[in-house]
């Protein structure tokens, strides 16, 4: 039962990576692929009705972690205290900048909102990679079951690392690069004209560093935490996941250079899912490895909720998550199609049909 919830959490993380991944990626390239106000408006409108639903996968994921593995939730959130508040202080302005940009139709406020949206998206894309890097590398969990990591120590690995060290920073940059490809492929598939062309260019040029950085990240992961090799050494078939992610990455480069935006998006989505899967498999059955002593790792066995709670949760969770997935598909289906550049005279003229 614990394993089932571990897989479901990995699934939620993968879906979150695909969905919020593209809107973060769009944000990180927003000022470059949209030059004029009309173009930016069209870029923004590709994500406006759906970004909130995408972000809910993160919020719900937090809820599911709390419910299924309360010990890992409490240790992790308390230990990454500072990192979580930085995350919050980026998520809050990002949502406001996206939604409120047109409430005051003045170039000054719009420019400000555009800036906030760009910077928060970029930093969030980077930080989610750093977060995954931290989980893979491990944290100084001691016998109390708690830990606390500062922002940085000496930027190196060791028993007492910070949130940022060379390994997690590498993870951050590779995630940001992958999300840029992913987001620009999405933007290219949903826009027309010069915006579409610039998005295709962005996907093209970002795809090569994205795959190079990710390969380096994957190759260096066992250096950061040797325990990540365990599941792979015993089970050669397990290499299918990271190798598959690599193949998807190469396909992403080829399709991006061919200018096949939908194909690029599918390839980047596949790469994201397989990378999340490969990371989850490397960790299993751990949720958070300890850098001090592997006896103090938080695993699905020592940090889970009771069997009854997990079983009850599976009944409503299977139903609820299917429903949630259905909503996401439905919303994306409703808001499909390309968004042409549009003049935006501001909220006053479009009250009621805001977006």
């Amino acid at each position: 039962m614990e394993t089932v919830w571990f897989c479901l959490l990995a699934l939620v993380a993968a879906i979150y990576g695909i969905l919020d991944g593209y809107d973060l990626g769009v944000g990180a390239l927003y000022p470059f692929i949209g030059r004029t106000p009309e173009e930016r408006e069209s870029v923004r409108r590709t994500i406006l009705p759906v970004w909130d639903g995408n972000e809910v996968w993160l919020i719900a994921g937090g809820g599911i972690l709390f419910f299924s593995f309360p010990v890992a939730y409490s240790s992790g959130f308390a230990g990454f205290y500072l990192a979580f508040f930085v995350l919050l202080w980026l998520l809050i302005p990002r949502g406001l900048a996206l939604e409120l940009r047109d409430e005051v139709p003045h170039p000054l406020t719009r420019g400000f909102c555009d800036g906030v949206f760009f910077w928060s998206s970029t930093l969030l894309g980077f930080l989610f990679g750093v977060a995954l890097g931290n989980v893979l590398r491990g944290v100084p969990l001691d016998a109390s079951g708690y830990f606390f990591v500062p922002f940085w120590t000496i930027m190196g690995l060791g028993p007492h690392p910070g949130v940022f060290d060379w390994y997690t920073v590498l993870a951050g940059f590779s995630t940001l690069a992958v999300l840029m490809v992913h987001g620009s492929a999405f933007a290219a598939a949903r826009t027309v004209g010069p915006v579409r062309n610039r998005a295709r260019q962005a996907a093209k040029y970002a795809s090569v560093p994205a795959v190079m950085l990710s390969t380096a990240w994957a190759a260096l992961s066992p250096v950061a935490n040797p325990v990540l090799n365990e599941n792979y050494f015993g089970h050669p078939w397990a290499y299918a996941l990271p190798v598959g992610a690599g193949v998807a990455g190469l396909a992403m480069i080829v399709l991006a250079w061919l200018g096949r935006e939908r194909g690029t998006f599918i390839a980047s989505s596949t790469a994201i899912v397989l990378s999340v899967g490969a990371s989850a498999l490397a960790l299993y059955p751990r949720l958070l490895p300890s850098t001090l002593d592997h006896a103090q790792d938080l695993t699905i066995y020592n940090s889970g909720a009771s069997h009854y709670a997990l079983t009850a949760g599976l009944v409503w969770g299977a139903f609820g998550l299917t429903l949630a997935f259905g909503y996401s598909v439905f919303a994306h289906y409703k808001f499909r199609g390309r968004v042409p550049p549009q003049a935006n005279e501001g909220a006053a003229s479009q009250a009621g049909q805001l977006h």
Binding site: P49, G79, Y81, G95, V104, Y146, F330, F335, A351
Partner: protein, 443 residues
């Protein structure tokens, strides 16, 4: 550890109270917008289309603030209350995850469709989206109140050998006897907020002599709703919720009412200041025997005072509990008076010209927010010293690895953020109201 828990309490209280300023308006406005949407659907005229658009704009802005200020709350259980989360996550993790899975997805998806407008998504789907957004915001309220209800009155759990608690009855958790009255009381309070905001905007337009057709319509819809829910707020929901407090939380009940000594035929204190040295009320005005009657329906019933309980089980801030409760009840009675008078004049056909009452109604709008905040302060400060009533003390619920410097850092950060967001929200709200439902050139 002591300061860390204090800062964490201040931060949690501040962010939650600030967050809840927005959902209490969206939960009720979603219902009122759905009402306009249904009237529009039935073909009752372009008036309802414009009214629906206007309030959808306010709903949209408020919803965005509600969503972004809500994100920290799911995180803070872990960041600041790790020991509490570890202890009780096996139980309340259920309701928090349920809220995420069943309410948030529904809400975010259909809010996108609602805001896109019927012109883009089609009238039928738009109507459905409007109703679903209203439904999902109430569902969200139910799950989060189920979480709070468990902290107030834990049910459906067993103790595990490792000291944590585990769920043993899913339906007991969702059917907590504490929950029903708390939910109704809270939702009805939200309706009071939304309907007074709507009445207030209507009164403002009438006083200003602009958009008068809408002013009348907002005022009429608002004041009728406000009158109904102000009544429901006091009876039966307020009555029901307060009896649960007397039944399960004697110390909170005594602190709320300012009863220090057990007595038969207890009077109710309308005003007075708790004197924590003398353990009595200073300058009280009492209604004799009223508290006994209201609580137990007998004039001679015995009401237990705080001194009947050990001092280390008293709420650590008795005056705060007492004042918040009295502010809530005082304001609640005032709302019934204002809305009742409004309905009376509406019935006599004089409301729209009674400028003095329009002024009063317009100025009432901020007070429901104060009343709901005071109500939550009563519930939460009154729950002290427990974080989970009778099971875990707040003092033991904090995050062990957290130090005071980091806790103070985020507390200050959130304080600044709340202040800033509050100013931006007020600016946007007044801007929409001043712009009005119809543009001047079209009007």
């Amino acid at each position: 550890m002591n300061d860390v828990v204090l800062y964490s309490r201040l931060q949690f209280g501040m962010t939650l109270l600030f967050h809840y300023l927005f959902p209490q308006l969206t939960m009720s406005l979603a219902v009122l917008v759905a009402y306009f949407r249904v009237r529009e659907w039935r073909g009752d005229g372009a008036h309802y289309t414009e009214a629906r658009r206007f309030w959808t704009r306010i709903l949209a802005v408020t919803f965005v603030f509600g969503v972004v200020t809500g994100i920290p709350n799911e995180f803070q259980f872990g960041t600041n209350w790790a020991a509490f989360s570890r202890f009780s996550g096996g139980v309340i993790g259920q309701t928090l995850a349920l809220e995420g899975v069943f309410a948030f997805f529904l809400e975010s998806t259909f809010l996108g469709l609602l805001l896109a407008g019927p012109e883009r998504v089609g009238p039928r789907l738009h109507l459905a989206a409007t109703l679903l957004v209203a439904f999902s915001s109430w569902l969200s309220g139910y799950f989060i109140l189920a979480t709070n209800a468990w902290m107030q009155h834990p049910v459906g759990y067993v103790h595990e050998p490792d000291g944590r608690v585990a769920l043993n009855s899913f339906w007991a958790l969702l059917g907590n006897p504490w929950l029903l009255w708390q939910f109704l009381h809270n939702q009805s309070a939200s309706m009071v907020t939304g309907s007074f905001v709507m009445s207030s905007v209507g009164a403002f337009y009438l006083l200003l002599g602009r958009h008068e057709e809408y002013g009348r319509s907002f005022l009429r819809t608002g004041i009728l709703t406000a009158a109904f829910f102000s009544l429901v707020q006091i009876y039966p929901t307020g009555d029901g919720a307060s009896r649960k407090v007397f039944a399960y939380q004697g110390t909170k009940a005594a602190a709320m009412e300012g009863v220090f000594h057990t007595q038969q035929g207890a009077p109710i204190a309308l005003i007075g200041q708790p004197d924590m040295q003398q353990l009595d009320l200073d300058n009280p005005i009492y209604i004799p025997k009223a508290l006994s009657f209201l609580t137990y329906h007998r004039f001679s019933a015995e009401v237990r005072g705080l001194t009947a309980y050990p001092r280390n089980e008293w709420p650590d801030n008795v005056p705060l509990v007492y004042y918040s409760y009295h502010i809530m009840v005082g304001l609640g009675s005032m709302f019934l008076g204002v809305a009742g008078l409004g309905v009376l004049l509406l019935w006599r056909g004089r409301l729209y010209r009674a400028r003095w009452l329009l002024w009063v109604i317009m100025l009432t709008a901020p007070f429901p927010y104060i009343a709901t905040s005071a109500g939550w302060a009563t519930a939460e400060a009154g729950r002290q010293p427990w974080v989970v009533w009778g099971l875990m003390r707040t003092y033991h619920g904090g995050s062990p690895p957290l130090n005071t410097g980091n806790a103070m850092f985020t507390l200050l950060g959130f304080f600044a953020m709340c202040l800033m967001l509050g100013v931006i929200y007020c600016f946007l709200f007044f801007r929409i109201v001043l712009e009005g439902p119809v543009h001047e050139e079209r009007a």
